[in-house]
């Protein structure tokens, strides 16, 4: 069965410092990996995805993520955090054999708090 783990409930970062939000996954076969962000009282917004190709994926708002097949990880990163990046971040996985549609399995979420 597919699963996603986000080992940190919360990550605290000072503004201007680099940030990393961790994600590991378990899926048979090749995964499709996604990051979404959720601001208070809003739905999820798509940040970036890994399908195939370069292991480093760049997305919205200066975020990037690195796919590491050997470690089954897809950590979200940003070189310099902003206070406005404070939100709830979700990692998700789907599978190329998932029936031809994007049945996402989500991690529990990591709350990012960026302090001035």
């Amino acid at each position: 069965a597919q699963s996603v783990a986000q080992p940190e409930d919360q990550v605290n970062v000072a503004e201007g410092n680099p940030l990393t939000v961790k994600c590991t996954y378990s899926v048979s076969g090749n995964p499709y990996l996604f990051w979404y962000v959720q601001y208070p009282n809003r739905g999820l917004q798509f940040l970036l995805k890994y399908i195939t190709g370069d292991n480093l994926v760049k997305g919205s708002y200066g975020f990037e993520a690195e796919f590491n097949k050997s470690q089954t990880s897809f950590h979200l990163k940003k070189p310099s955090a902003l206070v406005s990046d404070s939100a709830l971040y979700f990692c998700a996985v789907s599978h190329v054999f998932s029936g031809g549609y994007n049945k996402l399995i989500f991690g529990a979420g990591t709350r990012l708090a960026v302090h001035p």
Binding site: R42, G43, L44, S94, V96, G100, N102, K103, I105
Partner: protein
Amino acid sequence: GAGVSQSPSNKVTEKGKDVELRCDPISGHTALYWYRQSLGQGLEFLIYFQGNSAPDKSGLPSDRFSAERTGGSVSTLTIQRTQQEDSAVYLCASSLAQGANSPLHFGNGTRLTVT
């Protein structure tokens, strides 16, 4: 352009009552999904529509839950005889393509509170 629209944004209902939650997907998006977000369970897949048919209903928690989609557009999620454990945020998402790599676009959700 307009995103995924959900209504109502908040719904408070008494235990035992039926509720209907509405989702208007992005125009032209053929795939539509319902998810539930609750404190103890995180984000759970409920149902997937391709056009008006639902090939995957595997996430519906019980037979009190049902959903339909008409005209390949609007979808309604119905919960009958609501229970307190149904309290959650119900999120609708749509995507342009059917493929497993097509990003989902989420609405802001309906927060359901069952008293």
